[in-house]
């Protein structure tokens, strides 16, 4: 049994030419409690082994012991930077299982909130990615914008991070009066900010040199590892569930799917950067088309989905967020499984990591955009 611990003791006598370094679980740039075992040859990483589980909290097992509606708050804690989207995915799965209809207005509300959430999530990613590369200022800029989104979410749901705002068959509350004007004002204000980021990051020669050609992920490996989301698109595969497997009302909006070409860190950065602009477009269209009317469909008092199973997936900011639910006809799911994109995307790190310097490892890890709440569940 070659556990990491025995490996460490075996190699503790190693000299600087080849050594093992434990990056994490307490390390500024592992974005949470991830531990990477790095085997270094000088400064070059020759082997990466991610060790996860420090944040494991039996999410799926807890889910089997809760009623369907009680699970919603738990989904918030999956990808805590994109709680709206977790709600969205889970609610959609149960609705599909039960065959519930969602009113038009609620669908639009869902899309608006979800896309705003995508912007907020990408903003955090961009900020922390800048931090990984030593640019502290972009971090503060991104958080300034995200703060405004959180303010709006607070006005809608009363929460800033864990919203639990989606319900089976609709939404619990309508938008407050000021929300739409706030939202429009924000988007108008936000669009020029994107160019500000370009000036700081995209057009910065140091930044370009740092990330171009790093951690290349070719298409075949990406598919073999079931990579999804911006990471997959950065490798040049135009696969976006909003387009390829439309859910909710995403087929009604016009938006581009940015793709990269080589699948390096730069492409991943560019895909996310461009996606923010696309999300802005979607939100604008949705606000324009937002119909009046009901926000809650007809939902039975006692939620008992018919026996059967469903796999439903949405395009979360990190990739394909899937919920697999097996129902035995009772109030609680028989089996509840989350296919978390961050976990799957992280699995490719041992492939794309080696051969780079330690500094690049940080950039590559950052470009995968993991949230440990989702990786460990």
């Amino acid at each position: 049994m070659n556990t990491p611990e025995t490996e460490i003791t075996e190699h503790v006598q190693e000299t600087m030419e080849e050594m093992y370094v434990n990056m994490g679980p307490q390390h500024p740039s592992t974005h949470g409690v991830l531990r990477l075992m790095l085997k270094l040859d000088g400064e070059v990483v020759t082997e990466v082994v991610p060790y996860i589980g420090y944040l494991h909290r039996c999410h799926e097992k807890i889910g089997e012991n809760r009623t369907y509606i009680q699970i919603i708050p738990y989904t918030d804690r999956l990808d805590y930077l994109a709680s709206m989207y977790n709600n969205f995915g889970y609610v959609l799965a149960v609705e599909r299982l039960m065959g519930l209809q969602v009113p038009e207005r609620a669908e639009y509300m869902r899309v608006i909130l979800a896309e705003m959430q995508r912007i907020a999530s990408h903003l955090i990613w961009m900020g922390t990615f800048g931090l990984d590369l030593g640019n502290f200022t972009i971090f503060m800029y991104c958080f300034r914008e995200r703060e405004k989104i959180l303010d709006m979410f607070e006005s809608v749901s009363g929460q800033r991070l864990n919203y639990s705002f989606y319900r089976f068959g609709g939404m619990p509350l309508d938008f407050p009066e000021s929300f739409l004007t706030d939202c429009k004002a924000f988007l108008e204000w936000f669009k020029p900010r994107l160019h500000e980021y370009d000036a700081m990051m995209t057009d910065n020669i140091i930044f370009q040199k740092r990330v171009q050609g790093l951690g290349k992920l070719d298409q075949k490996t990406a598919i073999d590892y079931a990579i999804s989301g911006p990471m997959l698109r950065a490798s040049g595969i135009k696969w976006d569930l909003r387009r390829n497997d439309p859910y909710s009302i995403y087929d009604r909006f016009e938006f581009d799917i940015p793709v990269g070409s080589t699948g390096d860190v730069w492409d991943r950065y560019m895909v996310r950067r461009l996606e923010m602009a696309e999300s802005v477009k979607i939100v604008e269209q949705a606000i324009r088309q937002l119909p009046p009317g009901e926000i809650m469909g007809k939902v039975p008092k006692k939620l008992k989905p018919p026996a059967g199973d469903i796999y439903s997936r949405v395009e979360s900011p990190r990739g394909e967020l899937g919920f697999y639910i097996v129902s035995d006809g009772s109030e609680k799911p028989y089996r509840y499984k989350v296919r978390s994109p961050a976990f799957v995307n992280l699995s490719v790190l041992p492939i794309i990591g080696p051969g780079h310097l330690v500094a690049d490892m940080v950039a590559i890890l950052g470009s995968i955009d993991i949230v440990l709440g989702e990786v460990d569940r």
Binding site: L131, L133, G134, T137, K209, V358, A359
Partner: protein, 338 residues
């Protein structure tokens, strides 16, 4: 100055005190003044850096301590660091661990000997002025390696090795970029270099040299975009991971003191030292120095960090040839002009 000193010595001689006593007294007083100046200046610089970074990042920075824009924040932080528990890791080499911050600080301190704050405000106008600074600054690296090694932590060892590689590579272009000025003046003495700039600051004829010097100096100070030895997101904090409290404060002090030194040297060599209209010389000197420090802070909060190999490439393949070219052209021009 000299005369006053001589009179001071003669008074003691009249009393029959051995000459070593007044001489030592003078040395101690001068050293204390320098340490005092460094402390105050560093406190100001830390506060200033926090304000600058804050305003670059659309926030306010410290606002509470001391009332007006948090001016006393650094003092409060300093006191906090002073009264913190002194922690030495169990696996550390205690002697070296304790010695390292002192070595780094001693190097930073020694460099102040040759900084000409004004026509008479210089501790000692050594005839090897610039060379003295260059050689003494290489001691910092030894201190950093000592710190990194003695902490017995892989991150700190990596940081120390990076630091050594970086300092050695950037010292070479630094030295050669300065040569242009030295060749023009024909002296290494700081006072003579400043006096040679009465008509024109060397930043104009030696612009390339100035840029190379500034880049290399930032690298020598381990500041972003060259803060690879400390690179927070990679090496946590590099060589001083294991340091806390007072020992950490000394490293911090030395880092900022170094920043002041490189800026002051740049001011002396390229920006005309204390020359300037109206204001007193020492004020001009401080203004120029703090302007350069501001530039360094500005860069730090705008740029991303370079990678190790990029850093080496920049040092050896860009700065060094440029510095040589600059030196060659300067020499040629000097010969042609006689």
């Amino acid at each position: 100055m000299e005369k006053a000193l001589e009179r001071f010595y003669s008074v003691f001689a009249a009393w029959g005190v051995p000459s070593i006593v007044p001489q030592l007294t003078v040395m101690l007083v001068v050293a204390s003044v320098i340490i005092l100046f460094i402390s105050v200046s560093v406190m100001f610089m830390i506060w200033w850096e926090r304000k600058i970074s804050a305003h670059i990042q659309v926030r306010y920075g410290p606002m509470r301590v001391g009332g007006w824009h948090g001016w006393a924040q650094s003092i409060a932080d300093g006191i906090k660091l002073l009264i913190k528990e002194d922690i030495i890791p169990a696996g550390a080499d205690k002697l070296v661990f304790a010695l390292a911050p002192m070595v780094v600080f001693a190097a930073a301190l020694a460099a102040y000997v040759i900084i000409p704050f004004g026509p008479n405000l210089i501790v000692r106008d050594l005839n090897i002025g610039v060379l003295f600074y260059i050689s003494i600054s290489s001691l910092t690296v030894v201190g950093i390696i000592m710190a990194g090694w003695s902490s017995n932590n892989k991150y700190s060892v990596l940081g120390a090795l990076r630091s050594a590689a970086q300092a050695v590579s950037y010292e070479v272009p630094l030295v050669i970029s300065v040569l242009g000025v030295i060749m023009t003046v024909g002296s290494l003495s700081m006072i003579q270099i400043v006096e040679a700039q009465q008509r024109i600051w060397f930043v104009i004829p030696q612009f390339v040299g100035f840029l190379i010097y500034l880049t290399a100096a930032i690298a020598e100070c381990n500041r972003l975009p060259f803060d690879i030895p400390e690179a927070e997101s990679e090496l946590v904090a590099g060589f001083h991971v294991e340091y806390s409290g007072m020992r950490f404060a000394i490293f911090f002090l030395a880092e900022y003191a170094n920043m002041f030194t490189v800026s002051a040297i740049a001011t002396t060599l390229f920006l005309g030292g204390w020359h300037g209209p109206l204001l007193p010389p020492w004020l001009w000197f401080l203004i120029k120095t703090y302007f350069l420090i501001f530039v360094m802070m500005w860069l730090r909060w705008t740029l991303a960090r370079l990678r190790v190999d990029q850093l080496m490439n920049l040092g050896w393949k860009v700065l060094l040839p440029l510095a040589f070219l600059n030196m060659g052209i300067t020499g040629l021009v000097l010969v042609l002009l006689g």
